[in-house]
Structures are given as structure tokens and as C-alpha cells.
């Protein structure tokens, strides 16, 4: 049995994304998928730090279109506010990672300024990304990304896109008879209802009827009981960096094995 993993830094590991030649670095040994590699014939991990749900959707479909045999998929969905666009100029996908979730709450939307938001743009090719940063298009793209977040899309819009990604990928994997489980980075986008999560975001952005309709059609039985932040508890890197530390990754790996066993996938 082979394991395919996709997600963000919670599945890729935190830290550097590219090596000095601009190639994507593989997940380090402490990452949860590597801690359980002995249980599988092979582990393929497509997760990327800062990666979006759009990227998870796209790269998972691309992987399974090659019809890998005897493979289980563990998909860890990430923050809905990240997204990906295809850049015709550079003929590549750009990952857009906004770093100011707290600043876009509706109650603060009247006071946020451009400088309150920082946008990280990712390319798989690190050397091309360096060149792109000095190109005149870079600032326009970064600025349009900020404008989208500040004035165009609400948190609800991002959540709607997230649900569509989840639903279409769920149906794709089912249609190909691929065993899979879905999980998520945190309680915010964990589709299985939990009582333990209530924050300002959920109070200030109540779901639209469309979000409720979309959430209703997602198959909850394919989801882990809790998101990664629930399994890792306080085992994070530091107070400033809430990525799972080695012990956090170990706890996540135990939970994933338990979820796969529960469904007789392993």
C-alpha cells in the first residue's frame, strides 16, 4: 500500500521551501508522513508550506490522473484565504498567501491599510521566483492580491471556494475508487462540526445560505474527527510559531494511522 499526502506547512514542515538551486525541498524527517513511512511501501508528499487549497486540489488531481496503483490519499486542507492563479506571462502557477487574517475581520475593514497586509507569492521554481520579484508585474500582482482581500472578497467568498474544492475533489476520488481521508489545518476550516471552536471570525462572519448548502453536501464520513491543531495540542514550535514541533507531528501521525485503521484502509 502506498501513501499520498497533500497539504500546507502542517504536512510539509515549516522552514525553507527551496534549496539553493531553486528546487523544492522534500519534507524533513520530523514531518508526520515521514514518521509513518515504515507502514507503507512508499510515501509521496506533495504538501507545500504556504500552499493553498487551490494548489492542493490541482496537484492531487494531477497526481491521481496518472492512475497510481494501490494508493491511499490523505488530504490536509488549509486556510481558505490562500489561493492560486495561473500567470500567462511566466506560464506558471503563482501561490498567493496573505498573512493578515486578523486584519480582515469586517469590524476592522474600515481601518485597514495596504501596509497592514503582507502578501507572499510562491512559485515552484525558486530561481524563477527571484527573477519575478524584480519584474514590473510583481508589484501589480501583489497589489491586486491585497485589493482582492481588502475590498473585493469576503471571508465567506473564500470559504465558498474552499467548499467547492473539497466537494469536487471528494467526488473525483470517489469516482476513481481511491481510498482517502480529508483533514484540515485548524478548527476554522474543519468541515466536521466541533463544539470546541468559537472565535471572533465565526461570530463576525456568519455563514451564508450558500456555505450552509455546500457544507451539507460534503461527505463528513471521509473527514478525521479533529483537525491537526486538535491532535497536536500545545506541541508547537514556539509562542510565535504555532506549527507542530516534532512531538506535535508524532501525535498527528498517530491520529492519521488511527483514522486510516478505523476505515480498514490499512
Amino acid at each position: 500500500m502506498n501513501l499520498f499526502v497533500n497539504g500546507c506547512s502542517f504536512s510539509a514542515g515549516h522552514g525553507e521551501v527551496h534549496d539553493q538551486q531553486g528546487k523544492l525541498l522534500p519534507p524533513l524527517d520530523y514531518v508526520w508522513s515521514n514518521q509513518i513511512k515504515d507502514k507503507f511501501d512508499s510515501v509521496t508528499n506533495y504538501a507545500l508550506a504556504g500552499g493553498s487549497n487551490d494548489r492542493i486540489f490541482r496537484t492531487t488531481m494531477e497526481y491521481f490522473s496518472k492512475d497510481p496503483t494501490d494508493t491511499i490519499a490523505v488530504i490536509q486542507w488549509t486556510a481558505p484565504i490562500r489561493f492560486e492563479v495561473y500567470n500567462e506571462l511566466f506560464r506558471t502557477w503563482l501561490g498567493i498567501c496573505n498573512n493578515a487574517t486578523i486584519s480582515i475581520r469586517p469590524s476592522m475593514s474600515n481601518v485597514i491599510k495596504d501596509e497592514d497586509l503582507s502578501v507572499n507569492i510562491h512559485m515552484d521554481d525558486g530561481l524563477a521566483l527571484e527573477k519575478f520579484r524584480s519584474h514590473k508585474a510583481y508589484n501589480k500582482i501583489a497589489n491586486a492580491s491585497q485589493q482582492q482581500l481588502m475590498f473585493l472578497k469576503s471571508l465567506n467568498d473564500y470559504q465558498i471556494q474552499f467548499y467547492k474544492n473539497v466537494y469536487v475533489l471528494e467526488q473525483y476520488l470517489k469516482s476513481k475508487n481511491i481510498p482517502f481521508i480529508f483533514t484540515s489545518m485548524s478548527f476554522y476550516n474543519h468541515v466536521v462540526d466541533t463544539q470546541s471552536f468559537m472565535s471572533f471570525d465565526t461570530i463576525e462572519t456568519p455563514p451564508t445560505k450558500l456555505e450552509i448548502d455546500l457544507k451539507k453536501i460534503i461527505d463528513k464520513s471521509q473527514w478525521t474527527e479533529q483537525p491537526f491543531t486538535g491532535y497536536m495540542g500545545t506541541n508547537y514550535v514556539s509562542n510565535q510559531d504555532h506549527h507542530p514541533n516534532e512531538e506535535g507531528h508524532r501525535l498527528i501521525s498517530e491520529a492519521i494511522i488511527s483514522e486510516l485503521s478505523k476505515r480498514n484502509y490499512i
Binding site: 490541482r58 488531481m61 494531477e62 490522473s65 492563479v85 495561473y86 500567470n87 500567462e88 506560464r91 469586517p106 475593514s109 508585474a137 501589480k140 500582482i141 497589489n143 491586486a144 492580491s145 485589493q147 482582492q148 481588502m150 475590498f151 473585493l152 472578497k153 469576503s154 471571508l155 465567506n156 467568498d157 465558498i160 467547492k164 474544492n165 466537494y167 469536487v168 467526488q171 473525483y172 469516482s175 462572519t205 451564508t208 445560505k209 450558500l210 448548502d213 455546500l214 451539507k216 453536501i217
Partner: protein, 246 residues
Amino acid sequence: MKLLANGCSFTYGSDMLKSTSQTWPTQLENNFSEVHNIAMGGGSNDRIVRTTLDFCNNNDMNDYMAVIQWTSPFRKEYYNPNTNDWVGGTTLLQDNSSLNNIIMDVTVEKGAKVTDKDLQVISKAATQDMLYLQSMTDYRLSMLKNILTLQNFFKQHNIKYLFTSMGPETHIAGTMFTHIHSLQNSQILHLLEGCVDDTKWTDISFANMLDNNLEYIISQDDTHPNEKGHKLLAHTIWQHIGKIYG
């Protein structure tokens, strides 16, 4: 059997049409016990998904046939939490001279409370989004995700449906869509297109059915169907329903 129709102005009826009673869903009234047309002029595919799911979740769909007319992928819809309104964005070419003259025009449904000032801000951000962020690939990707969301929903809930579209550039079942995709060199578009069940699509789009024939369209400058055009669309839709569902 009841009919649910959704789409844009090609289904709602354009402003130049003398009466909404001339639209193709209305012309099918004799074939169905009830006709519900929830299309909106200038509406986006995002809106089509939202309003269709809402309708299906509020009605017993066992006795319904849903006919969905997909529209331009360049239209979008955004939620404004401050006023609880949906704001639609449509590309508008002010003149043909340069890209800088393309703007995103924003529209709202009747009764919306969003202010003109907010709409100006949204329009400006939507224009930036279109000019510098989103590519043709992104718009088509978004359209395919919308199509697959509704297709999977209908199949999962055993709801009878037929898909069609405004023009050849949005018609998945034809060869034109594939041809345009190949120019984008994007694997994900081909993969998603492969998931679309083209047996539930009309053979050709509305624009192809009307064939730019002045007998069927309002004028050379306004290619929306006229009354005769809507009659032709109604006839063709009814034929397709018969072919698929007997």
C-alpha cells in the same frame, strides 16, 4: 413534471425583448405543470450555482427537470457581509482601444442595500483582479468547478438535469472549448473537462442554435434571442430532454 430554468439574460430575457412571457422557459409552459425561471440578466456562473442549490434545497426536486444555461466565465459574484448582499461583476469593454479600458461593472439584485460608494470600491478592486491577477485559465477553472459542483449535486440527489450554455466558448460538450483549453497548456483544465458528463449537455450552445441569424436574434449589435429565437431554443431544449430522458 416541473421545470427549473437558470442562466443569464439568454434565459431571463433581454431588455429588448417585448415581454418575459416570450422567453424559452415560458414557451415550455405547456410541456410542464410548473415553470420556475430563476435566471438573471448579467448573472454569473457563481450565481447560477448559488441560486440553484438554494432552490433545490427548498423544494422537493423529485418531480423537477433542471435546465441550466451556463454563462460567461468572466462574470463573478461576491458577498458583501456588511449589507448581506451578493454583488455581481461583469466585464465591460469601454472601447476597443486598450486593455486599460476594460472595467468590471458591478450589479446587484433588486432590494440590495449595498451603497454606491461600496460598489465603486468593489468595481475598482474587481478591475485590478481581472487585469493583473486572474488569467483565462483561472476563469475557466472556476467555471469548471461550478459545473462539476452542480453536476455532482444533481447526480447525488437523482435530480434530472440538462446543461447548455450561452456561447461556444463556454460549451463544454463541443470541440471549441477543448481547442481553447489546449492553448492554455494547463493539465488541470483537461482533467476537469474529462469529468464533465457531456451526455447531459445540448449538442451546441444557444448562440450556435441561433446561428447569428437575424430571424432569431434582436439585431446585429444585440445577439440576444428575439421571440422567434426563444421559440427555437424552447423547441431544441424540449427535443434534448426527450432524447435524454424519454
